[in-house]
Symmetry: C2
Subunit: 417 residues, 2 copies
């Protein structure tokens, strides 16, 4: 088993909830890939005693700690002096970092002299290793004590942290490994409940191929994750592949992808393989389906375009939805969804049209059509399918779920045809 | 000062990085509002020893712990039995919860009998208080020991956790308060660097009205946050209001909002006040600007609609962009952005048109127009403005920043006119 590490993320904003800790997520994935388990994660305030206490405890437990945040140019950036003190080191200004800071400032064309506060970032504890930051101003630092216990300080800016993790941290940690890895794989499902999945999996509901199975419900559906620990890389891959294959087979059509693959990628790949193209007509989702599809690089081959038809006038004039049907059945109806899908397909000249119309809330619900009611229609080369559901959640959840179902309808239609 | 609490979030998926811990963010905000500081947050695996250890340490430090996760119906849900053991209590099946589980299953129309695994959720440690979960199957639990130290177990499903926090946790914690609050407020800025802000703020760069100032850079720009601790509610509000006013005055036009208010809300409010309406034409952002604007409830009064013009054919046929200009200047050019803005304004009949065209990457860059190059144009009642920038970051960051700048252009144009 590889030595594990702990993560200490530093920042008032993380405890106050003003910022989501995406760095912890990135580090977890990057370290997991090379079989370095994260034993524990702690989040503490921009407070000298709290930082000292959390890092000292983590060092006592695991002997290896990565911190994020508190390396910037402002007064609430305390990580550098506090951890220098914990390791009993003086801070010295590093002339190479000073020069690099001046050069970076000039190259960004910001004009004027480097603000003096930035020079705080050139202070280095005696004996520390400086980890270059190609993406920003604050370099990382690594301190090691006489017993070989270490702490690596990384900046809190996500882009900088990600780059330094990939270039410095992962290669160094991987070189210390014991030959075993920690890896997990997931099968992604949608339109099926967690407990229904467990029943479907039967004897495999807790363990598949000897690997523990976890259920991770989210807005996209339920992800089923198997994890292999303490195995050599090859054996780990073999067992995970076998487990994923068995889960996919058992879950059937509800499984749309594995691992981090998005529904958008799956749909785009299916379209590319079959020569299909997509046009979207969005009312309550206001462009979100288009935005999700175009998150994927290369999506321009498939998503030709679309119409955000928030107002009824746009639905009528641009998509050719019948004014009578809008009047008789309402904007949130099967008739309107189908006409939106057909209309946008014809207008853009795609093989597949999608129409979404619903009530995302928080207002606008009626007893007949409560908040969360969404009609989704697809027109695949002239063949239309429509579906209504009442999605649970807030405005953002309802909109996200509706776009997920719209993509899933395309996926199922293409697989069935 | 109110008694602080610690948060222990439980789940392999959090340490493996497959899930982002949005529950911790929600709890932090909800508790901060009522002046209950979160002293520390720890994240541990679905492992009995790790859960026990983290909760025991947190109880020793602060005497009040909220856990999230591990209460569901599957085998990796360990929180209930592990914490019952830590408190020395037996687990008993609660007939009221059993009945509620059966009723919920039936009401959701899932068909068939309740899967037996769900009954795990009816086990309650002796002497525990059951916290009803109106949004899901797993109730919360509260255990208190002889010294008055307590742990509250909440489910990991965000919607359920949020509802239980609002209905049970916040009222109970607020009733134990000492009369002081922990509150923070933010001034949101965009299109200005962190260090340039610090220089602009001069003597206020670390502290405003005696309150510490933090710099929080993100994709929307830099948020400036002041925090008041250990003050009575009224004094805290007075100091925070004064600090926010001074910061806004000093930062000027770069400050677009305060606290959690989004750029989309600011732009929509400005439009409502002036009788303006918006139409969007999006190429590289593929609907993201529309999606961000329509995140805001009531946005239908302003955003009439738009066109996702990913392909050149859609740019020409629907928006009337000149084929010659597409050929001569390329799709990513001032000419095309301006014609997109004008075209969509006319087509939809709005007072403001927006055109965005750029290279979101990772491919498609050239020496002249590297990845990240985005032209944005706005047409406000016939007056057009265009702007180009090279955004740094990955595809998602480039697209997000471009939509932020597009909205900021509208904001500045409306404020200047």
């Amino acid at each position: 088993m590889s030595e594990s590490v702990e993560i200490v993320t530093i920042g008032d904003e993380l405890l106050l909830g003003t910022t989501i800790d995406t760095n912890a997520v990135f580090l977890a994935r990057a370290l997991g890939e090379i079989g370095v388990p994260i034993a524990r994660r702690a989040t503490v305030a921009d407070d000298p005693d709290e930082i000292t206490d959390a890092v000292r405890q983590a060092l006592e437990r695991t002997g290896g700690v990565i911190t994020t945040g508190g390396l910037g140019p402002t007064a609430d950036d305390l990580t550098r002096p506090v951890l220098a003190r914990l390791f009993g080191r003086e801070l010295r200004e590093d002339p190479a970092i000073v020069a690099a800071l001046h050069a970076l400032w000039a190259s960004r064309g910001r004009g004027g002299a480097l603000p003096p506060s930035n020079l705080q970032q050139a202070l280095v504890p005696e004996g520390a290793e400086v980890l270059a930051n190609a993406q920003g101003t604050a370099p990382g630092l690594k301190l090691t004590d006489a017993q070989g216990r270490w702490v690596i300080m990384l900046p809190g800016v996500p882009r900088e942290l990600r780059h330094m993790t990939t270039t410095h941290i992962v290669p160094w940690l991987a070189s210390r490994g014991s030959g075993t890895v920690l890896r997990s794989r997931s099968v992604r499902t949608t339109s099926i409940a967690e407990s229904a999945l467990a029943e479907k999996l039967g004897p495999m509901k807790r363990e598949v191929e000897g690997l523990p199975l976890a259920y991770l419900p989210g807005h996209d559906g339920v992800d089923l994750r198997v994890t292999a620990r303490g195995l050599a890389a090859e054996e780990s891959t073999r067992r995970l592949d076998a487990a994923v294959a068995r889960i996919r087979e058992t879950v059937g059509i509800h499984a749309y992808a594995t691992d981090g693959v998005s529904m958008a990628s799956v749909v785009l790949d299916l379209c590319v393989a079959r020569g299909d193209t997509i046009a979207v007509a969005e009312s309550c989702t206001g462009g979100l389906l288009g935005a999700r599809l175009t998150e994927v690089p290369g999506s321009s081959r498939v998503l030709l375009g679309g119409v955000i038809a928030y107002s009824n006038a746009v639905k009528e004039q641009e998509l050719g939805v019948s004014a009578d049907d809008l009047e008789q059945f309402g904007a949130v109806s099967e008739q309107v969804a189908v006409q939106m899908a057909r209309g946008v397909r014809g207008m853009i000249g795609a093989t597949i049209g999608v129409g979404i119309t619903g009530i995302a809330g928080p207002d606008g619900g009626t007893p007949d059509k409560p908040v969360g009611t969404v009609w989704i229609a697809i027109d695949v080369r002239g063949e239309t399918t429509a579906r209504v559901a009442i999605y649970i959640g807030d405005r953002a959840e309802i909109r996200h779920r509706a776009t997920q179902v719209a993509m899933d309808l395309i996926r199922r239609a293409l697989l069935a045809s």
